[in-house]
C-alpha cells in the first residue's frame, strides 16, 4: 500500500486543465516539499443502525489523481461508506478528511457525485437538467462543455425521462461533472447497462481519469474495476478485507494459473486426479502453480484438451476467494 501511494503521490499530479483551481489543489505543505496529507482519508469509520453495523471500522487513504475502487458483495457496506465519504450521511464514529481537513461546506463545491439511483426533475430536457445543477455551484464547466464531454450533443433537447439507461447514466455523469470536481464519486455507475453502454461509459471515465481527477468507484463488475481502478479495497461485512493495486493483490493471493474445461469434457473418473478442482456452472476450473505437471496429468488421464483455456487469475477470482461463493441474504 505504501509503495503504491508513493507510485502516485499527490504532489506529482497536476490537475490538467484545472488551472483555475490549482490554488485549491496545492497545499502549502506540498509546495515546500514536506509530506503531503492524503487527498482523501477515512479513519475508523463506523455506521451503526439499530439492527446492524453497516460500516465497522473502515480506514483508507486515497491519493490524488487515481481511480479507487470499492468492491464487495451486496450488503457489504460500500454504499454506506461512500455516502459517508460524500458527506451526505453522518457516521456513528470516525472521520473523513479531504486535503487534510475534515470535510466541510466547501467540500460539496469540489465533489461530484453519481448516486446508484437518482431521479431528476420531471419535464426538463437534458440541457435544462444540467443547467439546473450548474446553477447550484459557484464555479464549474460551461453547460456545453459538459454536454460535449459526456457525448450528449444529440440529446440536449430530449426530455430526461425519455433517455435509455446508458443515456441516463451519461446525463447523471454530466451532472456530476458540472462543478468540474476534483473528486468524483461513482456509485455502481454501470449497473443495469448493456455491454455497449457500459463500454461507452468506461471510455468516459477513462477520459475523466486522463484529466487527472480523483475517482472513487463502487462496482459489482470486476472487469470494470480491473480496467479502471488503480487501487481497490474489497469490503465484506462492513470491513475492508483487502486493499491495494489489483495486480499486487492478485500476485499476493494467486501464485497459480487457472485452467478451464467445459464440464462435458471432464470425465467423472478425472475427479480422482491429484488436482485442485473447482466446480463452476458450466465448467471445471483447476488451479495450479505447476502448469507442466498438471497438463501432463490431464493428458495421461485422457482428458480431451481441445477446449482447454488457460488464464491468469483475475479480480473476480480474487473477489470470490476473499468473499466466498455463497449467495448473500
Amino acid at each position: 500500500m505504501k509503495e503504491d501511494q508513493n507510485r502516485i503521490p499527490a504532489v506529482v499530479h497536476s490537475l490538467g486543465k484545472r488551472s483555475k483551481n490549482d490554488s485549491l489543489g496545492s497545499r502549502a505543505s506540498d509546495r515546500d516539499g514536506s509530506v503531503a496529507s492524503p487527498f482523501l482519508e477515512v479513519s475508523n469509520l463506523v455506521k451503526q443502525y439499530p439492527a446492524v453495523t453497516a460500516v465497522d471500522g473502515v480506514s483508507l487513504q486515497v491519493p490524488e489523481g487515481i481511480c479507487f475502487g470499492l468492491l464487495g458483495p451486496n450488503g457489504a457496506g460500500k454504499t454506506t461508506t461512500i455516502e459517508i465519504m460524500e458527506g451526505i450521511l453522518a457516521p456513528t464514529a470516525g472521520e473523513v478528511r479531504y486535503r487534510g481537513v475534515p470535510i466541510g461546506p466547501t467540500f460539496r463545491e469540489e465533489a461530484g457525485i453519481l448516486f446508484q439511483k437518482t431521479a431528476l426533475q420531471d419535464f426538463l430536457t437534458v440541457r435544462q437538467s444540467i443547467a439546473l445543477f450548474r446553477g447550484l455551484y459557484d464555479r464549474g464547466l460551461a453547460v456545453d462543455e459538459v454536454i460535449r464531454l459526456c457525448a450528449l450533443e444529440k440529446l440536449v433537447d430530449r426530455d430526461n425521462r425519455k433517455l435509455s439507461g446508458g443515456q441516463q447514466q451519461r446525463l447523471l455523469l454530466a451532472i456530476a461533472l458540472v462543478n468540474d470536481p476534483a473528486l468524483l464519486f461513482l456509485d455502481e455507475p454501470t449497473t443495469g447497462l448493456d455491454p455497449q453502454a457500459r463500454r461507452k461509459f468506461w471510455e468516459l471515465i477513462q477520459s475523466i481519469k486522463a484529466r487527472r481527477r480523483t475517482i472513487i468507484l463502487t462496482t459489482h463488475y470486476m472487469e470494470e474495476a480491473e480496467l479502471l481502478c488503480d487501487e481497490i479495497a474489497i469490503m465484506d461485512g462492513g470491513r475492508i478485507i483487502a486493499q491495494g493495486p489489483p495486480h499486487r493483490l492478485l500476485r499476493e493471493h494467486f501464485a497459480e494459473v487457472m485452467l478451464e474445461l467445459p464440464r462435458q469434457d471432464f470425465p467423472e473418473s478425472a475427479r480422482a486426479l491429484p488436482l485442485r478442482i473447482i466446480d463452476a456452472a458450466q465448467r471445471i476450473e483447476i488451479t495450479t502453480d505447476d502448469l507442466d505437471t498438471t497438463l501432463r496429468t490431464l493428458i495421461d488421464a485422457h482428458v480431451p484438451l481441445a477446449n482447454l483455456r488457460i488464464r491468469p487469475a483475475n479480480l473476480e477470482d480474487l473477489f470470490l476467494e476473499l468473499t466466498g461463493k455463497e449467495l448473500r441474504a
Binding site: 458527506g87 460539496r108 419535464f123 439546473l132 450548474r134
Partner: protein, 335 residues
C-alpha cells in the same frame, strides 16, 4: 444563494407549466365548481321573507308582526351588523322593537317593499329609516370561497406532494449533495408556488369574474397583499407537513386532515354565522378562514386595511412560523 435559489425556482416553474393535465385541472376545477354551484343554487328564490330583529332572541309574543306567516325572523346581535345585511339585501328588513318600533328597509329591494307593507299593516306607527344598496348574490359570496379553496389545494397538495415525491425518488438526496441549503430549496419552492398561485388566481379572478359580472368593492392592491400572505401561510403549512415524512399515505392523510376541516369550517360554501362558539373557535385557527373573511370584507364590503389588519397579521405570523418549523425539521432523504 440567490443564483441557486433562482436555478431551482426556474426548474420548478418549467416542471409545473409543462405538466399540462395538472395545469388544466387547476384552472378548470374552480370554474366548474362556480358554474355548477351557481346553476344549482342560483335558481328561483324561495317565496319567503327574512326579517332581522335586533336582540339575542325573538319573543313571538312581543309584537303581532312577529306572528306573520311566510316570514323568517332571525335575531341580529348588533345594529351595525343588521344594517350591513339590509344594505346587501341579505335580510329584507331590520326591526328594532326595544322602544317605539323602528325599522330599516332597503329602498332598492323588491322584497323589502313587500315586507314593509306587512309590517305597516301590523304596526302603522313604526318609524321608517331607508337604506340602499345592491343585493349580494350567492355566487358573489361564493366566488372568494372558490378562489380560496383552489389556493388551499394548490398550496397543500401542490407543495406537499411535490416535496414528498422529490424525497421518495431520490431527487432531494441528489440536491443534498450540492451546496444547496434547505432554506434555499424551500425558499425556491415557496416563491415558485406563490408565483403560480398569483398567476392562476389572477386568471381565475378575471375569467370567472367576467362571466359572473363580479366587481370588487375594495382595493385591488389590498386584495393582492392579502392573497400573497394567505398563499404564503398555506404554502408554508404544506411544506411543514412534507418537511420530513416520506410516506405518501401519511402525508396524504395529514393533508386531508387539514383540507377537509378547512373545506367545511372556513366558510367556503356557507357562512358560519349562527354556528356554535366552539365551531367558530376551531375555524379561527385555519389560515383559510382568515383569508376568506378578509377577502369577502374587501371584495364585498370594500373594507380597508385597518379592518382586516388582524387577519393580515395572523396570516403573516403563521407563514413565518410554519416556514421556520418546516426548514428546521426538513429532511433531504427518505428513511
Amino acid at each position: 444563494m440567490i443564483k441557486r435559489l433562482l436555478a431551482v425556482w426556474h426548474a420548478r416553474n418549467l416542471e409545473f407549466v409543462r405538466d399540462r393535465p395538472t395545469m388544466i385541472f387547476t384552472l378548470l376545477l374552480p370554474l366548474m365548481l362556480v358554474v355548477g354551484m351557481s346553476f344549482v343554487l342560483g335558481g328561483p328564490e324561495r317565496a319567503i321573507f327574512k326579517v332581522g330583529v335586533i336582540g339575542n332572541s325573538i319573543d313571538k309574543t312581543a309584537h303581532p308582526f312577529l306572528r306573520e306567516r311566510f316570514v323568517d325572523f332571525v335575531p341580529v346581535n348588533a345594529e351595525s351588523d343588521g344594517l350591513r345585511k339590509v344594505t346587501h339585501q341579505q335580510i329584507d328588513l331590520l326591526l328594532d322593537l326595544h322602544s317605539s318600533a323602528r325599522y330599516w328597509v332597503n329602498t332598492d329591494s323588491p322584497k323589502g317593499y313587500i315586507v314593509e307593507k306587512l309590517l305597516l299593516a301590523a304596526a302603522p306607527d313604526a318609524h321608517r329609516q331607508p337604506v340602499s344598496g345592491a343585493a349580494i348574490r350567492y355566487v358573489d359570496w361564493l366566488f372568494p370561497g372558490i378562489l380560496g379553496m383552489n389556493m388551499m389545494f394548490s398550496c397543500l397538495f401542490g407543495v406537499g406532494y411535490v416535496v414528498l415525491r422529490y424525497r421518495k425518488n431520490g431527487f432531494l438526496k441528489r440536491l443534498h449533495a450540492t451546496p444547496l441549503t434547505p432554506f434555499e430549496f424551500l425558499g425556491a419552492q415557496v416563491l415558485s408556488r406563490l408565483g403560480l398561485i398569483l398567476f392562476v388566481t389572477g386568471v381565475l379572478y378575471a375569467g370567472i369574474g367576467s362571466i359572473i359580472h363580479f366587481h370588487t368593492a375594495g382595493s385591488m392592491a389590498l386584495l393582492i397583499l392579502l392573497t400573497v400572505l394567505g398563499a404564503l401561510s398555506m404554502i408554508a403549512l404544506g411544506l411543514t407537513v412534507a418537511a420530513r415524512f416520506s410516506s405518501e399515505e401519511l402525508v396524504g392523510g395529514l393533508i386531508n386532515l387539514l383540507t377537509w376541516p378547512m373545506m367545511l369550517l372556513s366558510g367556503i360554501w356557507f357562512s358560519l354565522e349562527g354556528s356554535p362558539e366552539w365551531v367558530r373557535w376551531i375555524a379561527a385557527i385555519f389560515p383559510l378562514t382568515h383569508l376568506l373573511d378578509s377577502a369577502r370584507a374587501i371584495m364585498l364590503d370594500g373594507a380597508g386595511i385597518a379592518q382586516i389588519a388582524p387577519h393580515l397579521i395572523y396570516l403573516g405570523v403563521t407563514a413565518f412560523v410554519f416556514l421556520a418549523f418546516g426548514a428546521w425539521s426538513f429532511r433531504w432523504r427518505a428513511g
